[in-house]
């Protein structure tokens, strides 16, 4: 076989041209987004005195009402626990039902579209809707997290299922096992470490989401934060933020531990 050097050179030139085109498109996109977002880095410098005053207002933090803050922080955690747990329970079957290698297309396509819908709409919007239906309070937050997280976890779970080794499943199948036992023994053990890891990660982010949910009246520390910022109680805001940071760090450490234990 003879290598055609002329051809090689032509291909290289074509590739270079294509790359150049992509570079132009990327730069144009960045400029376009810059204008749209009204990016104003000079504002940071020009108004630095404002910033300093605001930052100064935050200190020292005022922990006078710390009992209330801790109570609400606990509520936030409770919302996240139930929202995530219900989502995991639903995402296990839905994840398997949206995996290409588990079910025929007329099952996984509809299930996937349904999960897309649950994922596409932000939990804040779900929270606003549920506040209307079940009233103000943490339960609306749980429902919102449940629906949104189910959509996310079902997708992640199904991707793990699609990456399994078919061998063990076939081994189980050849024993004449029913379909459910085949999934239970052939699929679940293979995806279990990854599923646990995804579920724990979602729990962490749900703790963070639950903090914001309060702003639309769905319970948790968000309500307090919202009220404090709106009333310019910056020292109290600072105290709440410190509590939030401590809590998030704490949950991150715990879920890291758990993840290691399961893998």
């Amino acid at each position: 076989m003879k290598t055609d050097f002329k051809n090689e050179a032509a291909t290289a030139r074509r590739k270079l041209k294509r790359r150049g085109l992509w570079a132009v498109v990327t730069v144009w996109l960045l400029i376009w987004a810059w204008r749209g977002a009204e990016m104003n880095p000079l504002g940071l410098v020009k108004d630095y005195k404002n910033m300093l005053t605001l930052a100064g207002d935050f200190f020292p933090p005022n922990f006078h009402d710390w009992r209330v803050y801790m109570q609400e922080m606990a509520a936030t955690f409770q919302i996240a626990v139930w929202g995530t747990l219900l989502a995991v329970i639903c995402a296990v079957p839905l994840g398997i039902l949206s995996a290409v290698n588990m079910v025929p297309w007329w099952v996984h396509q509809p299930v996937r579209r349904l999960m897309d819908a649950a994922r596409a709409i932000n939990e804040m919007i779900f929270a606003m809707l549920f506040v209307v239906t079940v009233g103000l309070g943490p339960f609306a937050g749980v429902l919102a997290l449940w629906v949104h997280t189910t959509g996310i976890l079902a997708k992640l779970f199904s991707e793990a299922v699609e990456a399994i080794e078919p061998g063990p499943v076939e081994g189980i199948r050849s024993t004449g096992s029913p379909w459910l036992a085949e999934v239970y023994f052939g699929v679940i053990p293979q995806v279990f470490p990854l599923w646990t890891s995804y579920a724990l990660y979602r729990f962490e982010s749900n703790v963070r989401s639950a903090m914001v949910l309060g702003m639309v009246g769905a319970g948790g520390i968000g309500v307090i934060l919202w009220e404090l910022i709106r009333g310019f109680y910056f020292q109290e805001t600072c105290a709440v933020m410190i509590i939030i940071i401590a809590a998030v760090t704490f949950f991150d450490l715990i879920s890291q531990r758990l993840r290691k234990a399961f893998i």
């Binding site: 061998g167 063990p168 076939e170 081994g171 189980i172 199948r173 050849s174 024993t175 004449g176 096992s177 029913p178 379909w179 459910l180 036992a181 239970y184 023994f185 052939g186 053990p189 293979q190 279990f192």
Partner: protein
């Protein structure tokens, strides 16, 4: 035991099986040989009911039950698979479960779903699992995770699973292809034992001919999806083997593998247009057979 009639299978443009007919009687130990891509694994998967043919007028019967007819698996296929133990080249155990659990899973077919999901198998199945582990010689490894075992031990566990299944037919698809010669012998001996002592019918596909000759009384040879030889292994001569393995030099070496001849690996990298045997001693060795 097995009755295959006019079995065809195509994968896209490739025809893997071209009208295979095969009869195996109860208690036989049959070796299925052939070059890579001759269709022996495909045939096995059809026997096990793991793949359906895609042609009309095909029929695969095992134990008088139609595994598949005219390209459709039997509606009761999950029940029918209980009677057929399958051993795979890659063992196909569940790596994260213990050896003992893996072996117990052989009882899945006859266990109520709630029992299997709770790992609450019947006492007789537990006894059977321990007996099977003893039989294949890995009782001491039963608490280990399957993935921590060596290849030959995993294959033993897979055989034990088929025993717990109480299958009276074992289909072993390349059971020794990923094992070393010493381990291969052990596995083949276990299979022969099962055949002789437990009267289990065994069909085994083999890559290396000498195992077929040593362990199986009957050999069925496939070539390009057709049965080209079916008879006692003693009647196979090297002329026939060369015919069977034509165009697959690596395989043709197999009858001599016992003497540990070095395979002419370099052969694959030689450009076919410059095949000059005198310049490449390895190549001439391969041609000689």
């Amino acid at each position: 035991m097995i009755a295959v009639k006019n079995l065809w299978k195509t994968f896209g443009a490739v025809t893997a099986l071209q009208g295979v007919d095969l009869e195996v009687k109860k208690g036989e130990m049959v070796a299925l040989i052939g070059a890579s891509g001759s269709g022996k694994s495909t045939l096995m998967r059809h026997l096990a009911g793991l793949t359906a043919s895609n042609a009309a007028c095909c029929s695969v019967k095992v134990n008088q039950a139609e595994i598949q007819t005219d390209g459709c698996l039997n509606r009761q296929i999950r029940k029918l698979r209980r009677g057929i133990g399958v051993i795979f080249q890659q063992f196909n155990l569940v790596g994260r479960l213990s050896v003992y659990h893996n072996v117990l899973l052989g009882a899945l077919g006859r266990t109520a779903l709630w029992r299997s999901l709770l790992f609450f198998f019947k006492a007789e199945d537990h006894a059977l699992a321990q007996k099977a582990l003893l039989k294949v010689g890995i009782l001491d490894k039963m608490r280990q995770r399957a993935s921590t075992l060596s290849g030959v031990q995993q294959q033993r566990a897979a055989i034990a699973r088929a025993l717990v299944q109480k299958a009276d037919l074992i289909l072993a698809d390349e059971p020794i292809a990923s094992l070393d010669p010493q381990s291969s012998k052990k596995i083949m001996e276990i299979l022969r034992n099962l055949n002789q002592e437990e009267a289990i019918t065994v069909v085994v596909t083999l890559h290396q001919v000498e195992y077929a000759l040593n362990y199986c009384s009957r050999v069925v040879a496939l070539k390009s999806g057709r049965v080209v030889y079916d008879g006692p292994s003693a009647d196979l001569n090297s002329e026939m083997l060369r015919e069977i393995y034509e165009g697959d030099l690596d395989e043709a070496q197999a009858p001599m593998a016992d003497q540990k001849t070095e395979k002419p690996r370099i052969w694959r990298f030689i450009d076919p247009s410059i095949q000059n045997a005198s310049e490449y001693p390895d190549a001439s060795a391969a041609k000689a057979l």
